[in-house]
Symmetry: C2
Subunit: 350 residues, 2 copies
């Protein structure tokens, strides 16, 4: 605890020194935290030690280092095994967190390992097309946002500890969500669009005139199918891990596209009639829906923005929903101002 009664994450254990874990470890060391790390293969240890990271021989040794926070940075599919090995040895003092991109599933796995009482979920918006410690860099986290995921039983002090690690230790922003809000938002901006990109690539591949279509393809097509070119097995796993949210959004999208097909057909089949007139109005309305989004993106691109700052106070009982409402308003927490107050920037209000 520091002067303001805020918990401090002084010693941080990191399981997994890939791109995300390695960059996090290096950034925390650079900001004066003690970092103890383990990797399933020891090849990055020499470089990591030179960067000031203490490396240990087994994941169990991480628990023995008495960390304030232990961050699981292993791939999603390795989490159950990592949790099973940690459960018998992890001191109740240690707060467990992770950087996985799907939060409901990780919490289920944490619960299965009996570690839910000390868990706070986290997902940093950081990454690159590379992987492995060799590609890591403290700059990967420059100006990054983390989603911190909590549920009704999350311990407030453990939340503050993770928030301190992120805001002070890494120097990043946070939004506080429940698992489903996180996973649904991730389905919206990544998992579902990956399916859409794949469906576009499938549609072209299935055309008899695919070589002609490909010959005419330019920037629009390239951008809209880029993610369809990534490893389809990894995309499939990601989509299946968030299946319910992805399925619901795919239904919405399917409906939007079918509606537009109907409108275009009634407009062109009856060019001067009343039905065409009404279709034309609805088509115009379709292209107007996202106007607030276009205006937000134009604002975001307009250069150096001075974000409005707001103070957030927690009334005690309902901190989870208070912070979720703040996230819905587009506020990102940048600083802990006391045990029950935060400073946030208004970043994504659209």
């Amino acid at each position: 605890m520091n002067n303001e009664g805020l918990p401090n994450a002084d010693t941080i254990a990191i399981a997994g020194l890939g791109l995300i874990g390695g960059s996090l470890a290096r950034r925390l060391v650079a900001n004066g935290r003690r970092v103890v790390a383990w990797n399933h293969r020891p090849h990055p240890y020499e470089q990591a030690r030179a960067a000031g990271i203490e490396c240990v021989g087994s994941i169990e040794d991480l628990a023995l280092a008495k960390p304030d926070v232990l961050v699981l940075c292993t791939p999603l599919k390795a989490m159950p095994q990592a949790l099973a090995r940690l459960a018998p040895v992890l001191d109740p003092h240690a707060t467990l967190t992770d950087v996985g991109s799907v939060k409901g599933q990780v919490r289920d796995e944490v619960r299965a390992a009996g570690l839910e009482d000390r868990y706070v979920g986290a997902h940093p918006m950081a990454g690159s097309e590379f992987s492995g410690y060799g590609a890591s860099s403290p700059e990967l986290y420059d100006d990054a946002l983390w989603a911190v995921t909590v549920d009704d039983d999350t311990d407030y002090d453990r939340f503050l500890l993770v928030a301190d690690m992120i805001c002070t230790g890494v120097g990043n922003r946070i939004i506080v969500l429940d698992d489903d809000t996180h996973d649904c938002a991730a389905a919206m901006i990544s998992h579902m669009p990956h399916v859409v990109a794949t469906a576009l690539a499938n549609e072209l591949t299935d055309m008899p005139e695919r070589n002609i279509a490909q010959a005419l393809a330019a920037g629009c097509w390239r951008d809209m199918t880029r993610v369809a070119l990534t490893d389809p097995d990894r995309t499939r796993a990601m989509v299946e891990e968030d299946a319910t949210n992805v399925a619901e959004l795919l239904r919405h999208m399917s409906g939007r596209l079918a509606d537009m097909a109907d409108l275009l057909e009634s407009e062109s089949s009856d060019a001067r009639g009343e039905a065409a007139e009404s279709a034309r109005d609805s088509i115009r309305a379709f292209f107007a829906v996202a106007q607030p989004y276009r205006e937000f993106k134009a604002w975001q691109r307009s250069g150096d923005i001075d974000y409005d700052e707001v103070s957030l106070s927690i009334d005690g009982g309902e901190w989870q929903s208070d912070l979720l409402e703040s996230a819905k308003r587009g506020e990102h927490i940048i600083r802990l101002a006391g045990r029950e107050s935060f400073v946030a920037q208004v970043r994504t209000a659209l």
Copy 2:
């Protein structure tokens, strides 16, 4: 006619000195052709004249310059008026072409003006996010592909003349298509995906948690919605001009997305049953469809490619379908080798 009996496009008239027309004029001049140009406003004339382009006061004056080819580079919506003004004054010797991005509609307009006997359609795959003569550059056409659109009545000599202008005058490649094949391919790789991108942006805008989703958005989302940020009125006009093809493809896409939603739901509702097993197989199959496309893109990105060259011979009666079949095989004509033979590169065989 040159030595091989091939028609030559020596004098080329260009109507419209914007980005596309201006760049085309400069490139043709650089390659030794005589170019006479008109623009609806004379502001680019001083620069154009300095680049060796003869500028005239009215679109009618273009006809008086006795061009071998007249290229309409006006916006699509200005074409009917341009054609109406040209029809009374254009010498039957002149071959009319254009650079419009929708070919069926332009041919209808050409027919309405009574100029169909001298028309060959064209659409260069060239452009940038800028517009106007000030942004023009001969390099805009570097290694560009043109779709040349013909119908059963297209005069073969006029086709050769336009092909000469593109292959020799501009130094570009061509594929020869009928209007509908062109417009359907354009719907596939641009018009329909513009609707999909807009629907994605609409879906996010309509979410109560839009600020959270936007906060988590990264490269996938940015790329898949980039074209939704462009002027929605221009996108709407483009989609409406190709409505039938876009509607059909939107129905296909709507079906693909709904099918995937069904599969994800049966997989997760019955995780160990036979239905889930079969859903899992179908999901795997969905992600495998575009494998030839992924392999083609990997080949295309693999660096300096020596494209296979093939010789094409026209047997006389069926040149339109012979050349369409060549385009379907992914062959791009790079050179006229005689009145009835061409050299092509195999560029997009997937």
